[in-house]
Each structure stands twice: as C-alpha cells, then as structure tokens.
Symmetry: C2
Subunit: 371 residues, 2 copies
Amino acid sequence: MRSAAVVGTGLIGTSIALALSAKGVTVYLVDKEPVTALAAAAVGAGRAEEPAEAVDLAVLAVPPAELAATLAQAQKRGLARAYTDVASVKGRPMADIVDLGCDLTSFVGGHPMAGGERSGPLAARANLFEGRVWVLSPHPATSEWARQAVESMITTCGAYPLVMKPGEHDAAVGLVSHAPHVVASLMAARLEHAAELEIGLAGQGVRDVTRIAAGDPGLWLDVLSANAGTVADTLTELGRDLESVIKALRHLEAGGTEEASDRGAEEVLLDVLNRGVAGCEKLPNKHGAPKVSYVTLSVPVGDQPGELARLFADIGATGMNVEDVFIDHAPGKTAGVVELLVTPEVADLLAQSLKDRDRIAIEAPEPESTV
Amino acid sequence: MRSAAVVGTGLIGTSIALALSAKGVTVYLVDKEPVTALAAAAVGAGRAEEPAEAVDLAVLAVPPAELAATLAQAQKRGLARAYTDVASVKGRPMADIVDLGCDLTSFVGGHPMAGGERSGPLAARANLFEGRVWVLSPHPATSEWARQAVESMITTCGAYPLVMKPGEHDAAVGLVSHAPHVVASLMAARLEHAAELEIGLAGQGVRDVTRIAAGDPGLWLDVLSANAGTVADTLTELGRDLESVIKALRHLEAGGTEEASDRGAEEVLLDVLNRGVAGCEKLPNKHGAPKVSYVTLSVPVGDQPGELARLFADIGATGMNVEDVFIDHAPGKTAGVVELLVTPEVADLLAQSLKDRDRIAIEAPEPESTV
C-alpha cells in the first residue's frame, strides 16, 4: 500500500493515519470540519487535502449512521480502489450500504477492537491498535483485492485481522461488550444516591463490576441504538434470571416455614451462581489459551510516595513475570495490599525473592472468591 | 489483651489467631472438628485446647446461622469476658442472639472487610486484615469494656474499626458487595454457552464486570440468604431500570417511524447511562478522598517471559508512584498493552522517564471510556 485517505479524522481515523504515515504510506486527511483534518495533519498524521487521484485504500471513520452516504459519495468521485470503515456495529450500516446501491466489490467492513477512549485527533496515537484484534466483515461480493488492501492496513497498524460476518460480529460485541456495559451502568446507577457510610465499605469487587459504566454516555447511546436488538436479547435473558433470583431472595427473606420450598429458593440462587462461575471460566485469560489457575501473592505496602514503585522495582529485579496486578486500599487509611497474579511455577520463587528483599509476600487463592 | 479464644478455626478465625499470637497474646483454638483446631495450632495460631479460665476475648468465627447458639453456649460456660463474631451479615444473627436471651453486655458484632478467599486454617495468614476496614456493630446494651476489647483486637490485627448499626452494615454490604456479586453472576451466566468467536472479542470490560462471579457459590448462597431482603430491594430497583432499557432498545430495534417516540427511547437509555456515570463517581479511588482524575499511560509490551518484570523494574527505577495497573492482551497473539494509572503531576515525568529507557509510553484518558 502506497497511498490512503482517512475520511473522518477523529481518534480512530487519526490513529490509523498516524500508523500508516509512520510506515511511509502517503495519507490524505479529510473531515467535514476542515479544522479537524488540519489538527490531524499537525500531529503528523498526513496531508489535510483531497488526493488528486484514486488512493489504494480509503478508511471511512465516520459514525455508523453516516457510513452508507459517505461511502456512496466517495465511490461516486472515485476516491479509492478499496474502502473500509471502523464502526463498532456492522449489520445495520451494511444493510444501509446495500440499500443505497454502493459498489460492494470494493468495500470491506471493519472494526478495530481498541479503546474508543477520548475523542478527537489530538488524542490519537500510532500504537492504538498494537496487539489488538481488528474484525473484518467482507460482503460475499467483496473482491479479493479490496480484502487484501484492508488486511494490509490492519497489519501495518500492528493489529490482527479476524474475519466475521456482520451478524456474528454484532452478536459477539452485543454479548461481550454492549450488554456488559448496560449491566455495569445498571449497577452503578444504584450507587448514585448511596450514603457515604455505604460507599465506605466498597471494595475491589463493586469497583470492577461498575468500572466501564464511567464511559461516555453519548457514545454508548449510539452504540446501543445501532445494536439494539442483540443487546435487548441478551438483557431479556438476563432479566429472566434476575426475576427468579429476586423471587428466591424474597422467599428466603420471608423466613422459610416450609423446608422444601426453602430448598427450592436456594437451588435457584445456586443455579445462577454456578452458571456465573461457568461463564467466567469461558473467558480466556489471554492468548485464547485455556484458563490457567494463577496463584495470588499478597504483598502489604504503605502509601508513602514511591512505595508501589519500590515494590515494582523489587518485582522487576527478580526477573519473574507477573500476569496481573490488583491494588486494594482501605478507605481513610494509609496501608494497602497489592495482589500479584502469577503462574503456579513462579509463585514460590517470587515469594521467596520478595522475602529476601524484606517483603511479606503471602500466597493466597485467586481474588475472585473474595467475599 | 493477654488471652483470647478463637471458636471456629477456619480461614478468618485462624488468621485472627495468627495475628494475635504474633503480638504475644495467648490464643486458645477451638473447633467442632478437633483436627481443624490442631491444623491451626500447627501453623502457629495458638494452642488447640480449651482455656482453663475465662479469656479476655472470644472470637466466634462460625457461620451466621450457628452464631447465636455458639454464643449462648460459650457464655454459659464462661469462656470469655467479651465476645465478638466475624459474620458478613449482622442483622439476622443479632436478632437470633436477642431471641436466645444471650448476655448482650459482653457481645459486639464484627465483620472484617477482608477476603473470605480460600477456606480452612492452612490458608490463613497473619496479615489478612492489614489495612482493611473492620465493621463493629455494638448493641445498645454492649458494655464499654467489651467494645474496647474488640477494638483492641482489631487494631492488633492491623485493621481499622468502623462502627455501624447491624441494619446499616447489612444495607451497605448488600449494596456494595452482595448485589454487585449477583449482577456479575447474571452477566457471567450469559457467557456460559457463548461461542468461541464471541468470547474471542472479549476485552477488559466484560472481564471486570464478571470477575467476582467466579467466587464460591456455596459461600455466596449463605451470604445472599442471610441478607436476602436488602439484596432483593437493590435488585428490584435495578430490575425496573432494566425493564425500561429493554423496552427502549426494542423500540429502537423496530426502527423509529415516529421521531418523537424515538427520542423518548433514547432519553431512557441516556438517563441510565448518565446515572451510571454518576454512580461511578461516588466510588472513592482510595482513602475516602474525593475521586481524582488519573492519567493513563499506555505502554506496549511483548509477551516474552520477564517482559512485565522488566517494565516494573523500569517503573520502579523512576521512583514514581503508580496508582493502578491494567493489563490487556490480544487473544491468540503475543503483544499486549499495559495501562498505568498515575496522578496528572506524575504523568509527564513518568512518560519521559520510560521514553529515556527506550519505552513507548503514551498518555491516554482513563480506561473507563473504552468502547
């Protein structure tokens, strides 16, 4: 690939432009707001001008609702030989594209699985897609040439192409991204009017459950609207379980006068809890490898500046690999506990190495089972 | 405090015994399974025998449903001058204690906010409570002496006493611990039969939302049963929002023929998303201090053994404090991105220091807004 155009120089578009420019591709930057394209050019993403002749690939980084019209217009003026998009929903935009009679041979839908994060060209970075999956949704009519052009762009960005049908993609992100976001929002919304004393008992658990609910509501409204059916299906199933759980809890609250019926309520709760455990086990830890049992080393740390840095230095000095890190603080106090997830074969060595450095490092089970 | 008895030498009981023994307190270990008390003694938690005379404090670390009977029996034989428990629910056990006619002057309910984690005396550790909050629920009839004895034990364990009424405590943990656990389970249960391709798109978001659902179902059944009403109340409110969200999504899925009605559906979604953001902002980052805006530095790392250790060494060498760490891996691939949360004043210095060590460190917004 020698030339590309990015239409829509927000965070994603500009990040792609930065990555391609860094690899020597000539990138043209186009935005309906000229100042936005100029800002992208100012951070080194390319030239804020229309290309004089057709480029190898045009990336249409516009909102899903605008995609079909933008593609039709670009194809009409012969902007590029191949086209792709970056929308986080694939089905509805593709239907719009077919409806508008766009040329399907030159178009491949795409969705980089990277943080949408802060918007705008100045938040862009060339490595935004480094190591991430990038879903490709070619249409049956898509030409091999167009597909290769888009795959080449993806690998140039440091990402990994993964081919999925639009419906498959939307079902997948509906389940593993959009529905979880709604669930996090629903739980977080319960904390809005919580008393200080209640919030004071919040630990890592509720923090993790609600973390993504802090995301930009406007952005998420667009995403949920474009994938409404899939998300509603998942939430409807979840709602059925929720109803059973509430009914079982109400029964137990009333105080079991009938033992048999109590057992029924407990079975309902156990069933949901067990299925939750099974669901967690489906999530790969990394690399799609089967979930391995990590060992947690708990290390108490003070909260003076540099304490965590000193701990990291000690860990680094051991040369051993830590898989994940959790940091827990007691509210209102100055001591904390850092939990290091490591593979079982590393655990003893790391614990000993930390003890040699006068640290307390105690093996505990996975933090998942924390009450 | 010079002497204590721990009744029920599971993880919590034995950990308390270890912490007290380490500070020179004579600790007697009692369990209905003698071998369990012997195991606790074997790891240095104290003596596996009944005290010959009344001890200063007895910690009743038994399941909530057994607490009242255990207390009544212990008081009858004069085991201690003061008594406490460690159950994660306070209201129902206290009602049982009053019903059984126990001496209330010598009893203070307690709940250490530490990981229940793996069970049994061999998983115990003296620092389990280090830096954690420990809720105290004295009864109006509780004597000052009993309360001081329990507070002394809490500080000896390295924890911080926080006084709450039983109902307040149960409402708080229902909201910030028990209901979030159910919500995580409900979402995780949706993943049980997910296809591999769907799971392949799972990122940090869904992992965080569902993480605690991996906890022991049997343990959580007990907790939810003992606090059923409070949890049901929170989930009922959540269920009302869920219903509105599903209805709004179904409306948007059908495709808006009426603009006005579409706006109504979008307003419903936006309202829940906005309240979710507000709820997240209530959660203190640490120390009960108002939430500060952290800056995220994103650092790409390979996945060779020791890569993370080397990164930690580099961070440690800068002497700067990292507030939190997130590690994201692309499924099936060998590169990842580590996100370091730091305070704004540290961000630039740390980024520069890492760059001086030939690392790419790019400032990004908080990972919360990741799509």
